[in-house]
Symmetry: C2
């Protein structure tokens, strides 16, 4: 039986000015986690959030994470909160973050980044509007609208809001793992609202993320940087070896040249073949967001498969070489090439690392160089794929259709949100990514925005999702 | 008839403490041309030098060069000086520079860099001791010792000492060209003391330098830097194209892979074949200065030929890519690879530039990339080779044998000293490079030093050179 949601929806509409005011207050706190001088603002944001939750009748605590490694700075606390504790209801654990990316008006913003500015077309501009203060407040607003409408909250809600997401989520994994069987013990499923629609018009539910193995290739030879006039032609240069190795990893069309990588990739099933055609995604949109037409593929299906279900290899740069503007005639003594592989099912981290190491050592050996090679992973994060047939997704799909009038796309993403896998591992439960914002929100860019429509309908969506969750049969 | 130099030599020895004191005063002025805050010290150094020259009876003027382009900073003045104006004597034009490289004790110096510190083994440590304050003061000391010994100065001496050598010699070329037929009009030959012995024991005279063509390879595609999670596998990445191009330029053993470069190189003559065996140079010394055994060749002759008379290609780095420590999953939107070719006779600048451009465009075309390529030279400096049979060199060789008791090696260098070619072009006269310091002086490194022996014997050498110059027949 579909839940009766009209009263809730009407109350969300009626309270929309108050909900926007709440977002304005949140955006006004410049909780930039990467800037040490802003750390007090990040902590203030955590306190503000816990205070808002307490006023709504939730129990909220500020969990300290100790000092930031290598500094005297306190890490921002994690806000752990609970709303409802009814054994007869399902319990949903939600995650979000209250810190934001850096922003200065002088970066090129049209408006003050920490003053929420609402444009005529409904864009609500401000740092953190969409990433991730809007979605975090969505849960609070859903609670308030239920109270105002006199509608019983359909589930118990566990909340985990952190303040270091934009700066590596320092300390969070340990807390999540430690609380898996404690604070998060009765969670039946997890919902994270910290990603985006694939486009601007059609909502989506996200059930997969690629992993990321990040590597360093270090080549050293001379004892110190050399003058290319004096030593050019007489010394074997580490940069020469390094670019030849880097050139052997991937080609212009993204083909990974390391043997054994492609063999690990799960084959495309006939079912999957049909999935891509219906996804709301166009090459025009991709060209817009790319700012050029320099795509590898010309068609949607190949592009989505390359982003979601095939590995990719990107060369990020070189540490130790001359990188400034101008001209410097240096022979760098030690250079470190950086690249990463985005991983997909069924690639294994250790096997991939071994294939990378063996291949690079082999290429280097063939160069006949006297320099010294080291190759090693800097960090590795596993891919994640959830079952989109789980009741958690079914509930979210029904809620989406109810609010937006359209069946959502089931999508994967090319990037990684490591906390997703951590929650899955810590709780053993299904994790759903339920985005509020759209692809043009510019999460880490200037003029970040959340459309008013996405915010208000998104609040309805989060509430509706919890009602459908309460009704879905086990599967 | 060999000149009578014993009285001069004895006076140099007698005045050695005063000459070291003069060097101490010069080193104490931190005339770092590349640091804007030190500009007043550079200018002070120019004034100090002009004052010293005036006290010795030279006429000295401080020639202003205007503002440093793009700044409000005055360029340090060029000290133009003349000692003697006797139509019956030859006139020798000497060049040196009074500015120095940056230095901080915290860089790893054993002693304060701007306090000349004399070690038990005779090393006189201090920034600028060997590069180039010691040699510059060598000329002043030679004048003073002649006066003290009551020996007539054998030539007219024109001096050109600049204060921007370590920061691009801004404005100097124009001044030299303008003064070629004015202040420098009666110069019969030029002598520059701003390079080093090939080793530590045997003096040398230098008659050749390689040129340097410095190139940028710019590849751009996306409108802005991309996230490798979102775009990896779907966009053609400029870094991938760039490293593949850079890898196609040179191999581990220094072989330049650009067609047509090798064909421009002057063939080795039978005469030249025999030159290298006698040069005082060992692979052990090279390994020491390299700090490793990663040389391309195992033998002296191949190594010297590679340094002096063959071109080399070095990859310096990449601008626009990730170059910091750590891990960043960026796909750079625009990257600029930097490399240079050290050029030798008979390579032509324009022809070389054209070969480079055509080859890189061809390699890029074969990649099948949609990105955009630009390749262009940043700066080009021609190689220089003088005639070592000119009386200028013969005089210096005789002076070397008289002072050091050994015939000097006739050497070339792999690096460039662009002012050499400028003086040759402006005066139309033979230019000689007559080094004072040795290969271990560490001109641009921490613990820069000039050996006391090289300083004092070097003062004798400069004076003796002028006496032999006065006696050499025209050729």
């Amino acid at each position: 039986m579909a839940p009766q949601l009209d009263g809730y929806f009407q109350k969300v509409d009626a309270l929309s000015d108050a909900f926007i005011e709440r977002l304005r207050q949140a955006v006004a706190i410049p909780s930039i986690s990467s800037e040490h001088a802003r750390r007090p603002d990040v902590i203030r944001m955590g306190h503000w959030l816990a205070d808002q939750l307490t006023k709504l009748g939730a129990t909220a605590e500020l969990r300290p994470l100790g000092k930031q490694p290598g500094t005297d700075l306190d890490l921002p606390p994690v806000v752990l909160a609970r709303y409802g504790n009814d054994k007869n209801k399902r319990t949903i654990l939600v995650y979000g973050h209250y810190d934001v990316q850096p922003a200065e008006k002088s970066d090129g913003w049209d408006t003050e980044p920490f003053e929420l500015t609402i444009k005529e077309d409904g864009r609500m501009c401000g740092r953190g509007a969409t990433d991730d203060k809007g979605p975090v407040l969505g849960w609070l607003n859903a609670i308030e609208a239920h109270q105002a409408a006199g509608i019983e909250f359909p589930v118990n809600l566990l909340m985990c809001f952190e303040g270091m997401e934009e700066y590596g989520s320092e300390g969070l994994d340990e807390l999540i793992m430690a609380e898996g069987k404690k604070f998060f013990a009765d969670a039946d499923a997890v919902c994270i609202s910290d990603n985006y629609w694939l486009g601007t018009e059609k909502p989506c539910l996200t059930y997969g993320l690629r992993g990321c193995n990040y590597y360093s290739i270090e080549i050293s030879g001379p004892g110190a940087d050399l003058h290319s006039g004096v030593f050019g032609g007489t010394a074997q240069e580490p940069m020469t070896d390094l670019v030849r190795i880097m050139a052997s990893l991937v080609d212009t069309n993204g083909k990974i040249l390391i043997p054994g990588i492609a063999e690990q990739v799960a084959p495309v099933t006939p079912d999957e073949e049909g999935l891509y055609d219906d996804i709301a995604f166009s090459m025009e949109t991709l060209h817009d967001s790319l700012g050029s037409k320099t795509t590898i593929f010309e068609d949607k299906k190949s592009t989505l498969m390359a982003r979601w279900r095939y590995p990719s290899l990107s060369l990020h740069g070189i540490e130790g070489a001359f990188s400034a503007p101008g001209a410097k005639t240096v022979i760098p003594a030690k250079v470190i090439g950086k690249f990463s592989i985005r991983t997909v099912p069924n690639m294994e981290i250790e096997k991939t690392n071994e294939l990378v190491r063996l291949y690079i050592e082999d290429v280097f050996k063939k160069l006949g160089s006297k320099n010294t090679l080291k190759v090693y992973p800097q960090h590795c994060g596993k891919w994640w794929v959830a079952s989109p047939n789980h009741w958690n997704f079914t509930a979210a799909a029904k809620a989406t259709e109810r609010v937006w009038g359209v069946k959502p796309d089931f999508t994967r993403e090319g990037g990684s949100i490591p906390v997703t896998l951590t929650f899955e591992q810590a709780t053993g439960k299904n994790v759903l990514l339920l985005p509020m914002g759209s692809s043009t929100d510019g999460a880490h860019s200037i003029n970040e925005k959340l459309d008013k429509r996405n915010y208000i309908e998104g609040i309805k969506l989060l509430g509706a999702y919890l009602h459908y969750v309460a009704e879905e049969p086990m599967n």
